[in-house]
């Protein structure tokens, strides 16, 4: 069902544009042109955050942190097997999806751990990545409480996710 939503929306949009007598081709081209300059200007920020994440993983710092934090996670009701996933999720989208794939393969797609991992990924976002990219084109240097608020909310979300997986 959901695969039809986007194509139907697109057709409706073009028909609407046609109905409003705008030149859809020229308008589309004008908009698409902005893509290259946008990507060029956010590339350095994406590269920097991805290098940092790669170094964290290769050096074993995340694995070490995950080991230290195991009792904390157990206390919060999050399966300790998901420590690394929860730690990396705020930084990298592709990295956490790769980890999810590992979890699914190791514990089986329908196990409690895998379901927790799926729900945690589904209800959270790459906080640091989003913040870096969104603020990359502004002069803002002081973010105040933005990141802590998002992080704390996500951790509580992860705890709720694991609770829900137990009953649902």
């Amino acid at each position: 069902m959901s695969i039809y939503i986007l194509p139907v929306l697109f057709v409706a949009l073009f028909l609407y544009g046609f109905f409003k007598k705008i030149n859809t081709y020229d308008t589309f081209v004008k908009g698409a042109k902005g893509a290259i300059s946008l990507v060029v200007s956010i590339f350095p920020f994406i590269a920097c955050i991805m290098i940092a994440v790669a170094l964290l993983r290769v050096s074993g710092v995340t694995a070490f942190l995950a080991q230290i934090l195991t009792p904390v996670f157990t206390f919060l009701g999050i399966p300790p097997e998901l420590c690394e996933l929860v730690l990396l999720r705020p930084f990298t989208g592709s990295g956490s999806f790769a980890l999810l794939d590992d979890v699914l393969a190791t514990y089986g797609a329908d196990s409690y751990i895998s379901r927790c991992a799926c729900v945690i990924l589904g209800c959270s976002e790459t906080i640091f990545y989003v913040a870096t990219v969104y603020f990359s084109q502004t002069k803002v240097k002081k973010l105040y409480y933005a990141i802590p608020c998002a992080l704390v909310a996500s951790i509580i979300g992860a705890i709720v996710a694991c609770l829900l997986c137990r009953v649902m």
Partner: protein, 187 residues
Amino acid sequence: MMLISIGVLIFVDPGATLDAMIGASTSALELCIELCAVYAVWLGLLEIVDVSGLGQKLARLLRPLIKKLFRVDNEEIQKMIALNMSANMLGLGNAATPMGIKAMQALDDGSGKANFSMIMLIVVNATSIQLLPSTVISLRSNAGSADAADIILPTLLSTIVTTGLGIVFVLICYMIHKKLKARRRRP
């Protein structure tokens, strides 16, 4: 953070440092090329949404919510936030990003400090208000799940918790911040 990791690597595996950095940079470039293609499609479509006046209509629909939540009065910015939120809810994070960046640019007052609207926008975006976790579901069904979609309900509920809490936290922090500032100003 980078410093700690490199410091650790010097002791563990010095040869891997540069490899890891260049590997990551390469994947960043690959990601950017992919993003460029994705953004071209979305920015093209969004331009049509904008020029045809559909954006204004959507913004008008969401205006009460946006005005209350983000405290933005400028119609142009309201429109961008409306598009950003709609794309997010459809699970189109990549379509939401260009609009979010534009909204941020328009909200920037050049003071170097994030204002309330910017912080609210970033927290709402960073706590994800996805209605359909399509990537997760497809990964799960690939892994041989019997009912890959049974995570939709718990995901939806925890997403509501996360985003709701994010908004509440921002409001609380904003009030505390304002009070502290007022106290500091007094001699």
